[in-house]
Symmetry: C2
Subunit: 147 residues, 2 copies
């Protein structure tokens, strides 16, 4: 079974558990989110969904993204920007981000499993971890030399 099919199954399992069905809208959001390369903003996904399929509303996309998030298929990468970003998890090497606060460029670097230090702390509080992100901010090489 392909990784994508596995993800689909995971999604359906989640939907069943919460007592809702895999409708056309959810299917579309799932398809496009899994198809995306790298990060995407919700509004980008709205465009994608609307270009390839019959009309899907913004509301449905936003709702669907939350479901995918809770199902653990995508993660929210929060860069302190105006809008949210997501990325799917399957097929990606775990990585983190460093962002330049001047130009916004993003540098990716591999996940080194440093989060293991923290998981006991959170589990102790019965916090169910869906994901984590190590987020650095600073000034990139170019912006330093530019000024």
């Amino acid at each position: 079974m392909s990784k994508l099919a596995q993800e689909k199954e995971k999604f359906v399992r989640y939907l069943n558990k919460t007592g809702v069905t895999l409708t056309h809208g959810r299917q579309t959001v799932f398809d496009e989110a899994m198809k995306a390369h790298g990060h995407f903003a919700p509004e980008e996904l709205v465009k994608q969904c609307q270009s390839h399929h019959r009309r899907v509303s913004r509301a449905t996309v936003y709702r669907g993204l939350n479901e995918l998030l809770e199902a653990g298929l995508i993660r929210k990468t929060a860069f302190g920007e105006k809008h949210q970003h997501f990325e799917h998890i399957y097929d990606e090497k775990p990585h983190h981000h460093a962002r330049c606060i001047r130009c916004g460029i993003m540098i990716e670097f591999p996940d080194l499993k440093e989060d293991k230090v923290y998981t006991p702390l959170l589990e102790q509080q019965k916090f169910k971890i869906l994901g984590h992100e190590m987020h650095f901010y600073g000034i990139c090489k170019n912006c330093q030399s530019g000024k």
Copy 2:
């Protein structure tokens, strides 16, 4: 010298370096940002600045916050929410956050210096690190039992 005074000096040093002066507006934003307890959203700071001082515009506050950020006096904590959050650094124990994606509650936990693993990676790319945040997301205890 108090910690606060040290921060002020750090700020002035930064301003000098970038060739600007400590004006009334910047002073106000500095004061209120340092006075804040825990996280604050920019708009909250706008209110603060406008209630305690003579009129300071939103623009000035937003501009000032960026300067404080670059000067390394505050950090941006990005929770993937609609708006940004900041917190000042002085006088705070380094800590990170876990956020519940359902109710938004925030759990703080101490910084365990796990970032040390990554700094060489970024320094190698000449990325000047201003700060970092370890960000977990998931479902909190209450939201798990609530459903």
